[in-house]
């Protein structure tokens, strides 16, 4: 089923709320006038100034295109920020891992040097013991050879 713009105009024709509405409205207006005159006669206390916190939000609410743009910019900024933070975290983790690896390598090299040194000492001691043993064995050999 199709409708024309005239149908829409007809559907949205103005409706009058009636004379009763005018009277009710004037009643509330008169009430407001009475309240206003009463409050004017009373000493007025200084009202704290309203903060316009929601002014920008209200302004945005009436401009959907701007709101979308602001949201898009925020998303983009958060996206880039998040990406950069993750990149930074990754680089930092890599740096720490490299430093650990370097430290382990240094410790290993130190251990190897110590082991080599220990072997050198052991070899020197063994040579010394061997030489002493040979010196002590030499006179016995002479005696044995003479007895024969």
């Amino acid at each position: 089923m199709h409708f024309s713009e005239d149908d829409l105009r007809e559907a949205l024709k103005r409706k009058d709320p009636g004379e009763g509405f005018t009277q009710r409205t004037m009643g509330s207006v008169n009430q407001a006038r009475v309240n206003q005159s009463q409050s004017e006669s009373k000493p007025v206390l200084a009202k704290p100034e309203k903060k316009s916190n929601g002014a920008f939000l209200g302004w945005l609410m009436h401009r959907p295109a701007w709101a979308i743009a602001v949201v898009a910019i925020l998303l983009l900024a958060f996206g880039i920020g998040g990406y950069q933070y993750s990149e930074y975290r990754h680089a930092e983790e890599m740096r720490i891992a490299r430093a650990k690896q370097q430290q382990l390598q240094q410790e290993a090299e130190r251990a190897r040097d110590q082991a080599i040194m220990a072997l050198e000492i052991a070899r020197a001691k063994m040579n010394h013991v061997l030489r002493h043993a040979q010196l002590q064995a030499e006179p016995n050999d002479k005696i044995r050879r003479e007895r024969l």
């Binding site: 829409l8 007809e10 559907a11 949205l12 509405f21 509330s28 207006v29 407001a32 959907p64």
Partner: protein, 190 residues
């Protein structure tokens, strides 16, 4: 025709000037003159007679409080449309309100022209109620108030191109909604 419009303008100007001096009768004349517009915008937006009446009363109360800011009858009409539209949006946000079906809420016995199909008009109003707030207001301003895109843009504080695209989209949505409703009715009878 032009003479009548000029006379009407003079009459409203006089009423406005008198209302500015605090003449209650002149203010009542202004209310009487514009109540149809304010009430209808609210009624077509909210689809609730009692809520629309309350909203219209609040608008006129606000007018009474800010009457000294009104410069001319044209400015008054613009001001009323704008304040009503803003209040409609505020009211629309109070989604969890209790929806009362008052006796008076039944559709107004409007003077239907000979070619208009009452069922189509009712379905159009129902479909209008399903549109998002901004779209609904744009349609009301265009087809109830007969405003052009530039005037709608001024009243609703929207760019003109947005008004045009919103209007286009709203009509398409209304057509879609209406077709769906007709299909539902058809299936119900099958």
């Amino acid at each position: 025709m032009e003479q009548t419009a000029a006379f009407e303008d003079d009459r409203l100007n006089l009423a406005l000037n008198r209302a500015l001096t605090g003449d209650a009768q002149a203010f009542a004349d202004l209310v009487r003159e514009h109540q149809g517009m304010v009430f209808s915008i609210a009624y077509h937006f909210l689809q609730d007679r009692s809520l629309a009446e309350d909203l219209a009363q609040e608008v006129f109360l606000e007018l009474f409080q800010s009457i000294d800011r009104i410069q001319s009858p044209a400015h008054l009409t613009y001001w009323l449309r704008r304040v009503t539209a803003n209040r409609c949006i505020d009211q629309g946000r109070k989604k969890h309100r209790r929806r009362e079906m008052a006796l008076e809420e039944a559709p107004e016995p409007t003077t239907v022209s000979s070619h208009a199909d009452p069922m189509l008009l009712e379905r159009l109003q129902q479909s209008l109620a399903t549109l998002p707030e901004r779209q609904r207001l744009v349609v009301i301003m265009r087809f109830q108030e007969g405003l052009g895109p530039a005037e709608i843009a001024e009243v609703l504080e929207m760019p003109v191109n947005t008004v045009k695209s919103t209007l286009h989209r709203s009509l398409a949505d209304l057509r879609k909604g209406l077709t769906r409703k007709i299909r539902e009715v058809r299936y119900a009878f099958l």
